[in-house]
Symmetry: C2
Subunit: 230 residues, 2 copies
DNA sequence: CGACCATTTGATATGGATCAAGCGATGTGG
DNA sequence: CCACATCGCTTGATCCATATCAAATGGTCG
């Protein structure tokens, strides 16, 4: 039911080419009262725009695979990345009717797409759905508050904090695979790519991390990273 | 009903001394379904702590008069101010059961205090209350997102942005009265007091503003301020 | 293999921090 | 009511972390 409506919608853009149609999957059989299980899968190619700032917020999204960045751009072109969303994360939820950020696929990805109006309607009758929506917004709020705390720190603290944050999202793993470029990281941390790069090199030299490939980081000494996190 | 419960609660601290008891006001007569009208007034003295980070979030607050700052402190003492709340603003709303920031009175103030559990219970049955709570959290989210955008700007842009933000909250007024110290402003903007002071002086020299008293700012050229807001 | 793009590394510049002193308003005690 | 202490703010001099400018290196894909 949801899936049929969504995959045919023209306002969803630039699906990655070589992916089998979501139509081949069975449609959701009956209304369910948990947000987690609803929606239709949708592919987006690397760097594809998922939605733009100030556009009507018709959908919300949950990542199945790949990664997404949200961002805003200032008049003069400076870009600030709001957050990196990974599999399992929900993004694009708005209380007002327009998106406050833009969203792009960092890598090819699959995303569950859910019609916002359906969820909102559901929330009007189902208390637990309303509660989930509120909690999602609150989760986002806490994330952004943490981001503010990151932005007042030194470059080393920001990078260390970023690595720990990414590591915390891959529980158990001491090695992290970064789906995003140095430019993305820099724009998330409010630094330049050069500073990010130099800081990573410094962390490597101090034996806190190992960088076997530019997008692969091994946390060699979490305690040291935590100590320099401010 | 609410008022009786709340003013006698011991966990609310440091009410300003010479204020007539809220008990003298008539209690709210019957349950109402709009958050705006509920609660009991409570005085706080300048610099009094209203609640601390990580404390149980038993109440939410709405400012009647005065001003409040919320903040977090890093290990090494750096303080980041989350927001300045002015009359009419609601603060202290949490979805989880602890406060994520601390809150202090910037000046002597009166605050409506509302038991969180009562509101949450109400939200379980009243859709419009649930919606209001969600919207308050979303309003806060947008604020914090704007704050992030502020923190990536230059000192001049931050100060100009701050002045415009404060001015927008006193609609119509071209002159703003700042309830907070330079240190508070600096900790909000992620700058030092010296930089804030110098920047204000520079703005005054460029005829964008006038500073007849240190806590009184006249916006002389809003367009210029907006232009340098980034 | 060669072109291109991402990343690292190097050299220099600079905005804001830090250190330090002066100034003005406010309040207190004599 | 005035002298003086205190506190918040401004101004000045210098320093330093990070930005900027520039070039080299490495990895990927046709």
């Amino acid at each position: 039911m949801f899936s049929e409506t969504l995959v045919s919608d023209r306002s969803l853009r630039q699906p990655a080419a070589p992916v089998k149609s979501p139509r081949s999957r069975p449609a959701v059989q009956a209304p369910v009262n948990t947000i987690e299980l609803m929606g239709a899968p949708m592919p987006f190619a690397r760097n594809a725009e998922i939605y733009g700032e100030n556009e009507p917020a018709e959908y919300l999204y949950k990542i199945v695979s790949g990664a997404v960045r949200t961002y805003k751009v200032l008049n003069d072109g400076r870009r600030q990345i709001g957050f990196f969303y990974l599999p399992g994360d929900v993004f694009g939820l708005e209380v007002g009717d327009t998106h406050t950020f833009s969203a792009e696929a960092i890598a090819d990805c699959k995303v569950m797409v859910i019609k916002r109006s359906a969820i909102i309607a559901l929330a009007a009758t189902q208390t637990d759905v309303a509660r989930q929506l509120w909690e999602m917004t609150a989760t986002e709020l806490r994330r952004v508050q943490d981001h503010v705390m990151l932005l007042i720190k030194t470059a080393q603290e920001r990078v260390a904090g970023f690595l720990l944050e990414m590591a915390a999202r891959t529980p158990g793993a001491t090695e992290i695979e970064l789906p995003m470029s140095r430019q993305d990281i820099a724009d998330y941390l409010g630094l330049t790519i050069e500073t990010v790069s130099r800081t990573l090199t410094a962390l490597e030299n101090s034996a806190a991390i190992d960088v076997p490939a530019s997008r692969r980081i091994v946390l060699r000494n979490r305690a040291a990273l935590a100590r320099m996190n401010g």
